[in-house]
Amino acid sequence: MKKKYSIFALIKNSLSYHENWQRAWRDPEPKSQYDAVIIGGGGHGLATAYYLAKEHNLKNIAVLEKGWIGGGNTGRNTTIIRSNYLWDASAGLYDHALKIWENLSQELNYNIMFSQRGVMNLAHNQHDVRELKRRTHANRLNGIDCEWLNVQQVKKFCPIINCSPNIRYPVMGSTLQRRAGTARHDAVAWGYARGADSMGVDIIQNCEVKGIKRNGDSIEGIETTKGFIKTKKVGVVAAGHSSVIANMAGLRLPLESKPLQALVSEPIKPIIDTVVMSNAVHAYVSQSDKGELVIGAGTDSYISYTQKGTHEIVEGTLKAILELYPIFSRLRMLRQWGGVVDICPDASPLISKTSIKGLYFNCGWGTGGFKATPGSGHLFAHTIAKDEPHALNAAFNINRFVSGDLVDEHGAAAVAH
C-alpha cells in the first residue's frame, strides 16, 4: 500500500532529512504473461493503465516504456488545457477530460498543479472573428464555458498584449475559456504511475517493443528488448511512434509524424497570469510557476522522427510574440526542444479498435493531446476492457476515414494545442 502524501508526511520525513520517502512506483522485471499490455508510458498510457485497474478491475497489466515514463510528448508539451472545441464529438471528449482534471490532484493524492488561469484565443482578421464567435456559440450550446471579448476587454484582461490597430496582425477580439489553464506535465505522468502501481500495475521502463506476434486476426504477444511477453490485449499509446508499432502488426494508420517545438525564456517576475494563444500568427505564451515564459510554435511541414525542428519555425513564432508583446523584446531564451507529434488528416485523435482482435490504438493527438490525458485514458480503458468504445469516443474510431465521417477540427476550430 502506498503511504499518503500529506502535510504530516512532509513533517515526519523532514525529521529524517527526506531520505526515507517511499518509492513512488516499483521497478519490476516483466512477467511472462499479462492480461493486457499498454505500449507507451506517457500520460495517456499511464492513465489508461490506472483506469483499467481502478474501474475495470484488471490488475495483471503492464505499461512498457522504451525510455523513461513521461519522457515523450508528455514531458515536452506546453501544458495548455482547454475544451473549447467546435464539433459536438470533440466538445464531449475534451470537456470529459477537463472535468476529470478539476479533481485530479485529490483523486491521485498527487499535486498536478492544475491551474485554471483561463485560455484566450485571439482573432486577427474578420474571418477569425466570425469563426471564433461561432465557436463561442457552439461551445455554449454544448454547456462549455466560453466568452467573447472585444478589444477593450482583451486589453483589460491581459494588459501586456499590444492592441494597437497599427500592427501587422491587429488584435480584433478574443475568446476566453475561464475553466481552461495549465497543469504540471511531469506530475501528471508520475501521479498516474504512482496510482497505477499501487493497484498492482507493472510499470517497466527501458523496455522497447520490437514486434507484435499475431495469430491470424488475433494477438499472441509482443517482442520486447526484455524478452517475449504473452498477452491477448495490447493498447498502443505511442504518440509519434504509433505508425511504427502499427507497422509491426501489419497495419497502416492515417498519421504523419512531425516535429513540434517549444521554448522557454529566462525566469522573470509574474507578468502574464493567463494563457494567450494566437492561431493566425501561430504563437502562444504562458508563464510557468518558476517564472519562465513558455512559448509554443508550429510544426514543421515534413515527416521526421528526430525530435528537433527547424530554426525558421522558432524565428517566425518569436517575431509574432514580439509584435504582440513588445515588453518581451529583451528577454533571453533559455531552452528550446522538440517532440514528434502524430497528426491525423482531420486533426482529431483515434481511440479505436482495429481489424485485429485485441489490438487497440490511442493516437493521433498531434499537437494537442496533453489536455485530454485523463479523459483519453479513461475512455481508452473502457474501450479495451469492454472491447467496444464508450459513447464519448465512438466518433473517434478508425473507420471514420472509410465512412467519411471526419471530425474536422483543423479548419473549424482554429485548433493548435
Partner: protein
C-alpha cells in the same frame, strides 16, 4: 537544418522548398470501381516511415518544379534527389 539539392537549381536552403508528402502514390486507374475501403487506403492511410522514405518536394521559392527525394526520417539525412518519372537510386 538541411540543404536540399534541387535537381534543376542545385543546392539551396531547405526553407526555399515545400514538402509534398509520400511519393509514388498512384491514383487508382478506375476510380468509379473503388470501394470505400480502397478509397480510404489511397486517400488517408500512410506508411509514415521511420527510416528511408521516398517523398515529393517542390522548389516553391525557386524554379517551382516538383521532384522526389529519398531521406532518412530518423536523422533527416538526404540520400538522393531525383526527377519525377525517374527511379530512386539508393
Amino acid at each position: 537544418m538541411f540543404i536540399i539539392k534541387c535537381p534543376y537549381c542545385g543546392e539551396r536552403d531547405h526553407s526555399e522548398f515545400s514538402y509534398g508528402g509520400e511519393a509514388h502514390l498512384v491514383r487508382p486507374k478506375q476510380p468509379t470501381e473503388l470501394s470505400d475501403d480502397q478509397w480510404a487506403e489511397y486517400l488517408f492511410m500512410r506508411k509514415n516511415i521511420k527510416g528511408l522514405q521516398y517523398e515529393r518536394w517542390n522548389h516553391s521559392h525557386g524554379c517551382r518544379r516538383w521532384f522526389n527525394m529519398a531521406r532518412d526520417t530518423s536523422n533527416d539525412k538526404i540520400h538522393s534527389v531525383y526527377k519525377i518519372g525517374e527511379k530512386a537510386n539508393k
